[in-house]
């Protein structure tokens, strides 16, 4: 374990005295970098945000903001991290820090280092440029309001959606973000982007009690998994970290798989698009580049960028949350899950993958290698998320529509639902109620009343069962209203 080390703020730091379950946050604080704060320990508040050097598909490096509370320290073996202290000092603050300070962007200051890191991640985003504001946001507002999410410098405010501030009300933080210039020439973090990110380092830590292993290859991972089927698979660790921090989970063996190349494939074929299970949601979004509009609608609503930068698409399916967010969308897309074990591969329809509350068809010796989305896509796709807060929240109800219309008639309808049963489900009865009927107000009204009865919603702290059912009912009405089709009587 003495060979485990991380480059923090440009300096090699050996990692000593950590266990498999020590978070990067605790380790950083332990070595004196107390600018990294714990606000919630579950990836909601962003007070622990740091920058991680991650590989870009063109061979360069991105500075990616992540929640240090959800990253196992040992998973950083061989990696490069920058904290608020590494961005700048009181004597020589980084531009994001200077702008934050002078704009009144800090009051109590506790969330501020995390904001500085998230902001720096966007500051260094390649492709950020003035006038970048896209039309998607503008369409979302009424009266042709201009895009409220992009600054004149191209800064995308969504980058800060995973950081909570209880003091300022956010306006001065926005102003600070929108006042940022471009990185100056010679800026070491900007220059670092041109060189490759550190590669994955095979890592072993711990003894019989709590072990962490990053296997060197897929074969090694599958062998380990075959020999120790109780092992916990860890990819983006955004769920793993919550379990460890809040529920005290201490698995005897954690196997890190998110850097295995076989799990990081991305292929666009004629019959399907294959998404490697270990691609983060941000990577999936970036690489798809709008190819699957339904997922494009979903991404900004999925947790926060700090989470999406780590959470993997395979992990999101593997945890089998009844809500899931990607699950309803992938159900509507009729996606298939590719499972791999030492014995070979098999493919399972996602609708058959979820077998019960947080259980799946994955055998203990298998891992999810990829997700396949069949082509062509349905013509009409929409994702509806009902949550208390618009961003950075878990759905009460999620509804994904993929509907094919042929001359104003519903040729096929596939609807995925989250939050209304023990697993994400297909709304089969509603799909049947739509199929073959004219896409008009009457059909939609009939089908909406069927949709309102799908699933078995429960009441909890997020929403009542009644509201959940009501929201199922209105989702289709809202979809129909927002997609008036020419020549179809509305």
């Amino acid at each position: 374990m003495d060979h485990i080390g991380v480059t923090v703020n440009g300096r090699q730091r050996p990692m000593v005295g950590v266990s498999a379950h020590t978070s990067a946050l605790d380790w950083l604080r332990g070595i004196g970098l107390t600018g990294c704060k714990e606000g919630c320990a579950e990836g909601e508040c962003g007070a622990c945000a740091v920058l991680l050097a991650t590989p870009r598909d063109d061979g360069g490096t991105d500075w990616t903001a992540v929640n240090a509370c959800l990253v196992p320290a040992v998973a950083l073996d061989g990696q490069e991290v920058v904290t608020a202290e590494g961005l700048g000092t009181p004597e020589q603050p980084h531009e994001v820090q200077e702008r934050l300070a002078e704009a009144g962007g800090s009051q109590c200051g506790y969330c501020t280092p995390g904001f500085a890191c998230s902001m720096a991640g966007e500051f260094y985003r390649l492709g950020r440029r003035a006038g970048e504001a896209d039309a998607a946001d503008a369409a979302d507002t009424v009266d042709g309001r201009t895009d409220a999410h992009h600054g004149p410098n191209g800064f995308d405010l969504h980058a800060l959606a995973g950081n909570l501030c209880r003091c300022t009300g956010y306006r001065p933080i926005r102003d600070a973000a929108f006042a940022l210039s471009d990185p100056e020439s010679g800026d070491p973090l900007a220059e670092r982007r041109d060189r490759p990110a550190p590669g994955a380092v095979a890592t072993r830590l711990g003894d019989d009690g709590e072990r962490f292993v990053r296997p060197a290859s897929l074969d090694e991972a599958l062998e380990l998994l075959r020999d120790e089927p109780d092992a916990v698979l860890a990819a983006g660790t955004t769920d793993w970290g919550v379990d460890v921090n809040l529920r005290g989970r201490r698995a005897p063996l954690t196997i890190a798989i998110e850097r295995l190349p076989e799990l990081r494939t991305f292929e666009v074929g004629d019959a399907s698009i294959e998404l490697g299970a270990a691609l983060s949601l941000s990577e999936v979004q970036h690489r798809l580049d709008g190819r699957i509009p339904l997922l494009d609608e979903l991404f900004p609503l999925f947790a926060s960028p700090l989470i999406r930068n780590r959470a993997t698409i395979g992990g999101n399916l593997g945890t089998a949350s009844p809500i899931g967010d990607t699950s309803p969308a992938l159900l509507a897309l009729e996606a298939r899950v590719v499972l791999v074990s030492a014995d070979g591969e098999r493919e399972v329809d996602l609708a058959d993958f979820f077998t019960g509350y947080r259980t799946t068809a994955r055998r203990p010796d298998e891992l999810i290698r990829s997700v396949r989305v069949p082509l062509p896509l349905a013509g009409l796709a929409s994702f509806h998320k009902i949550s208390k807060r618009r961003f950075d929240d878990i759905s009460s109800v999620a509804v994904a529509f993929a509907i094919d219309l042929d001359d104003g008639v519903v040729a096929s309808a596939r609807i995925g639902l989250g939050g209304v049963a023990a697993t994400p489900i297909r709304a089969r009865a509603t799909e049947a109620a739509l199929a073959g009927r004219t896409w008009d107000r009457e059909t939609v009204r009939d089908a909406a009343s069927v949709l309102a009865t799908e699933g078995t919603p429960m009441s909890d702290h997020r929403a009542s069962a009644e509201y959940r059912s009501l929201m199922l009912g209105t989702a289709l009405l809202k979809l129909h209203r927002s997609t008036p089709l020419e020549g179809v009587p509305a």
Binding site: Q97, G105, C108, R171, H461
Partner: protein, 822 residues
């Protein structure tokens, strides 16, 4: 203008200055209490054993915990050398024998690491003998479970006035609590220093009280205990009373082990163990004349105080004093009582009962305006205080004309009337999405209602090199108090801001301080700092007068230079004068003291002048509501707020904006949910994490946010003419909820009263929309000229189902003589 309020030429106060620690914040260099722990040698971590029952007699077996590797000691009631109590009312045993709420800390484990401490806490065996529990306000009302002394404010003859008023309405208004969710959870670090002194770093708004509680738990005199507060990562009232017991646990642990002890609650512990804003329940009867003027109001407020009294009595006192908000109510009776329930002990939270009191009148006006045939803005405007009127508790409403001036200015500057017309047109065109625009006023009384708290001390040192060190009794929680105090000191001494430093708050520097609370931090400590600085300046003026060969009265201090009257004469630097003064054996430091003059308050009769002055403001908010989901968002917010002559405009602007968004969170988003079932989890807080308790994020920021501070607003009798700012703007957020109500009303028929749950979450709003739509359908089905009350009662009944059983009692709005209106 008094000396206290008048400003010299070119003062440092009034300049827009960033927070004194802003760059330290942004670079991670600012140190908070628990940041000290990693570099503290041999430090132990404390972890609570929390009750798994809501109400039960408990018996502990701590022996298994001591078997856990790394566990050093388990603290229980037997270890307390002094008084086993963490409060000031002697109703908060620090180590209880009876668990009073789910999550109640029963014992504390000290261990070498947090992991070991957690494992040790899990190993402690707790035997429970369950007792019946009360979880909701209604449970407590039904069981007649109250605590503290009920209070009543009365004026005129409300019973008679209500019997004869042309229009009388009755209702129930219920508003939920709020979690402070300071980003920094509670933290303390205690050690015993070389001299045997107990030294505690604490994230506390009230260091002197933390010191007192620690002393009485340890059985020590106060002079053996020192508390320091470096800074807090947010307080909002949540660290006024709640830190004391936690600091005492750490101090007890340090005393017994001889090692430093750190205690930092994680978020779940903080949410499940510490108090929150009080949920309130109000029944009311309100009478109006034909012009919509309020004739009388009778209301009974019930606060959910939780398991112990804490600050519930003064919170209720302030609530009762703010039921009137900005409105003249000639006949008035408001009774307040505090329910005792098996929940966290609810405590101070920005506004301190004021928001809950004002909620009642704003909810009433919003609900009855359509029934009176008036738009809500007109109804509110018509009832604003005018000069020479007094509050129901007998305090003249000084500067009532300011209230009206703010109102008129905001209506104009926000283009209120034209936008309302545009919104009406928009709503007519859109079936599924509606907009609403509402304007609401704020009048908030400034001073502690406990008169003794309105005092403060300061200690100012001038060193031989001319640098200045300021200590005062206030604490910094992000509100910018230290920044303002630096500006006050620089102004009073005539030096540059950079030559003044502020030291962290310590009880061994300034004793017997009041909580930094009630928005009074700058008023009180500013008065004390100024007093100290002026003593020093006076002494320096004598020295400088001799150096300049002018009368001491003609010496001027400014910008770090000391000169005589007129620009042409010689001048010296401040440091040169200080040097000379030192050699002449002139005292270069001073203590300052301030007490707020003119306050008196009869707690028994609830009459007097408890407030030095009122802070005023108004907000106009436009929202858009999605008819499919009930989700709403703020399109535009305009605020005009009175901070007197601002001590620090950038700081004050931040306070106004931040308070507004926090208030909007309370009223529209943040929802505390407890398990109210009879199942095994009864009484457990269900929203006990950041993932389930949602506070405003970037997505809740208003799309357009125009905030102005009232100009030329000097307040006489307050430091440099300023006014308090911390709490009052929170209540500007009523405009958000009222705008949602307006938007929902657009889904219903004309004259439809909208009963809207609070918080007005998407779900609550959607229910109100359904009720409005149902009323519209009923209205369409019926003959024209249907009673408006039909719609309103439908809305009320529906909304009642989402709150609690209590809301259904008398929730239907009753209106007499309505036919004469329509």
């Amino acid at each position: 203008m008094t000396d206290l309020a008048s400003r010299p030429r070119d003062p440092v106060v009034g300049t827009a200055t960033p927070h004194e620690s802003a760059v330290q914040h942004a670079t991670g260099a600012a140190v908070y209490t628990d940041d000290l722990a990693p570099s503290t040698a041999h430090v132990l971590t404390a972890w609570p054993v929390q009750s798994a029952h809501t109400h039960a007699v408990v018996t502990l077996d701590v022996a298994p915990a001591l078997e856990v590797p790394g566990v050093v000691r388990v603290l229980t009631a037997d270890d307390v050398p002094g008084v086993n109590d963490a409060g000031v009312k002697h109703d908060e045993p620090l180590f209880p024998s009876e668990a009073m709420y789910h999550g109640h800390a029963l014992a504390w484990v000290l261990a070498e690491t947090a992991d070991a401490a957690r494992a040790g806490a899990e190993a402690v065996q707790v035997a429970y003998e369950p007792l019946p529990s009360l979880v909701t306000i209604q449970d407590a009302i039904d069981a007649d479970s109250f605590q503290g002394i009920p209070r009543t404010i009365r004026r005129g003859d409300p019973e008679d006035a209500l019997a004869t008023a042309p229009h009388v309405f009755q209702g129930v208004s219920v508003v939920g609590g709020q979690e402070h969710f300071y980003l920094e959870t509670h933290a303390a670090l205690a050690r015993i220093d070389s001299e045997g002194q107990v030294f505690i770093e604490s994230s506390t708004q009230h260091p002197s009280e933390t010191q007192e509680i620690v002393a009485h738990v340890l059985g020590l005199p106060s002079n053996r205990v020192t508390v320091e507060c470096l800074r807090m990562g947010g307080g909002f009232g949540g660290k006024e009373m709640q830190p004391h017991g936690l600091a005492a646990v750490a101090a007890l642990g340090a005393t017994l082990t001889g090692r430093p002890v750190r205690l930092r609650l994680n978020r779940t512990q903080d949410l499940t163990m510490t108090g929150k804003r009080h949920p309130f329940h109000a029944t009311w009867t309100a009478g109006f004349d034909d012009d919509g003027r309020i004739i009388a109001l009778a209301t009974t407020l019930t606060a959910d105080g939780g398991w112990s009294l804490d600050l519930s009595e003064p919170v209720m006192g302030r609530a009762l004093c703010h039921v009137d908000n900005a409105y003249w109510i000639p006949h008035f009776v408001a009774q307040g009582r505090i329910a005792k329930t098996n929940k966290t002990s609810q405590t101070a939270f920005r506004g301190f009962g004021g928001p809950q009191g004002m909620f009642v009148i704003e909810d009433i006006l919003g609900r009855v305006a359509p029934l009176l045939g008036l738009d809500a803005a007109t109804l509110r405007e018509r009832n604003l205080y005018v000069p020479d009127q007094t509050t129901p508790y007998g305090q003249p409403v000084r500067h009532a004309e300011r209230l009206r001036a703010i109102w008129d200015d905001l209506r104009t500057s926000s283009d209120f009337d034209a936008r309302r017309a545009r919104i009406a047109a928009f709503n007519a065109e859109h079936e599924d999405v509606k907009r609403g625009l509402a304007i609401t006023p704020v009048k908030f009384g400034i001073s502690f209602t406990l008169t003794a708290y309105n005092q403060a001390g300061a200690l100012v040192h001038v060193y031989k090199d001319g640098s200045v060190l300021v200590n005062h009794g206030g604490t910094e929680m992000g509100q910018g108090l230290h920044t303002k105090m630096l500006q006050v000191a620089a102004t009073a001494l005539g030096v540059r801001l950079e030559s003044v430093r502020l030291a962290p708050t310590r009880t061994d520097k300034v004793p017997n301080t009041s909580a930094t609370a009630a928005s009074s931090g700058a008023d009180l400590n500013g008065g004390a700092v100024k007093h100290a600085c002026e003593q020093i300046r006076e002494r320096l003026a004598a020295v400088a007068g001799r150096m300049l060969e002018v009368d001491a009265r003609d010496v001027r201090f400014g910008d770090g230079r000391v000169s005589g009257l007129g620009a042409s004469g010689p001048s010296f630097t401040f440091a040169e004068v200080v040097q000379a003064a030192y050699h002449q054996r002139v005292q270069l430091w001073a203590s300052g003291f301030y007490r707020t003059a003119g306050l008196h308050w009869d707690t028994e009769r609830m009459q007097g002048e408890p407030f030095k002055y009122f802070a005023y403001g108004a907000a106009a908010t436009e929202v858009e509501v999605d008819g499919f989901t009930g989700a709403s968002r703020m399109l535009r917010v305009d605020i005009l707020h009175d901070v007197g002559d601002s001590l620090s405009p950038l700081i004050d602007l931040g306070q106004v904006e931040g308070a507004f968004v926090q208030g909007a969170g309370w009223l529209t988003l943040e929802e505390l949910r407890w398990d109210e079932t009879d199942g095994p989890g009864r009484g457990r807080l269900l929203t006990q994490s950041a993932s389930t308790y949602k506070l405003p994020s970037f997505s809740e920021m208003p799309e357009e946010f125009n905030v102005r501070l009232l100009e030329d607003a000097a307040e006489d009798g307050v430091v440099y003419g300023s006014k308090a700012v911390g709490e009052p703007p929170l209540m500007l957020a009523f405009s958000v909820r009222e705008a949602i109500r307006e938007a929902v009303a657009a889904f219903g028929p004309v004259g439809c009263s909208i009963d809207l749950g609070a918080p007005s979450t998407a779900e609550a709003t959607y229910r109100a929309i359904l009720a409005a739509q149902a009323a519209a359908e009923a209205d369409g089905a019926a003959e024209s000229g249907a009673e408006p009350a039909v719609g309103s009662s439908a809305a009320s009944t529906d909304a009642a189902t989402r709150t609690d059983a209590a809301a259904s009692v008398g929730a239907a709005v009753r209106s007499r003589f309505l036919s004469s209106e329509s």
